[in-house]
Symmetry: C2
Subunit: 121 residues, 2 copies
DNA sequence: TAGCTTGTTAGCATTTACGCTTACATTATA
DNA sequence: TATAATGTAAGCGTAAATGCTAACAAGCTA
């Protein structure tokens, strides 16, 4: 499903594993009511710590985890922690991003860049 | 000067233009005491709005403005608004960043990418 | 029917951040 | 010397976010 909220994403993964909201809340050590609010998107996605406990409890793949992190971030006008760190510590990356923005690089061009990265190393 | 704090950066630019702290605070419409705290790094960098007023008041170049935004962000474990937005709205960019991180791309490789971007368009 | 389980509503406590006001010591100027 | 101007210290008010507790209705199950 595309264009899900964070809450919907978590709920789907949780139910797919046949876990009740209450026991899921227990597993990741938060209050059920809080979990409910999150799934219904009445609250922001929680902190990174809790996000990571969710990933573990739901046994998400790397890809799924990244999606969860991105959805969590987007619920807050933010970007995921791993990306934030990478960009923060890399001046060249910031230059590259601003240049790409400036040049109005589209998806196609970024795809090429991604493909070429593999070769580069 | 490299590895400056946000406060130091602003103070330097301000003094280079011969503006007093008080009148600078006036120009950008914040309390002098607040400005003082900021320059001394006793407070986080202020909101985006105020940052932009600073850029105007100091008549910074684009490059300087980006540096100011990045320093402001780094004072808060964050990344600059323009980058945040760009990354947020671009799935491919996020994929690219994570791949780069994964491959442990260094400065040199990013420089190449930057150079190649110019050609791409 | 009595009693658990499930999800949910309402509201509280705490922390953190932003920006302000007021008052002060120091330096420069009339 | 008296007055300005400059930068700073201390502390307040407000707002937003995080996560909680307590209590409820609806559905299952014994």
């Amino acid at each position: 499903m595309v264009n899900m909220t964070f809450g919907e994403f978590v709920k789907e993964k949780r139910r797919k594993k046949g876990i009740t909201l209450r026991s899921f809340a227990d597993m990741i050590n938060i209050a059920p009511a809080y979990m409910s609010d999150i799934e219904k998107s009445k609250r922001n996605a929680p902190t990174q710590e809790i996000l990571e406990r969710m990933v573990k409890a739901l046994e998400l793949s790397n890809e799924e985890a990244n999606e969860l992190f991105d959805l969590a971030a987007s619920s807050k006008d933010a970007i995921a922690q791993d990306l934030k760190e990478y960009v923060s510590y890399n001046q060249k990356v910031r230059v590259a991003l601003r240049k790409a923005k400036d040049l109005n690089l589209g998806d196609d061009e970024w795809i090429k860049i991604i493909e070429e990265m593999a070769n580069k190393k």
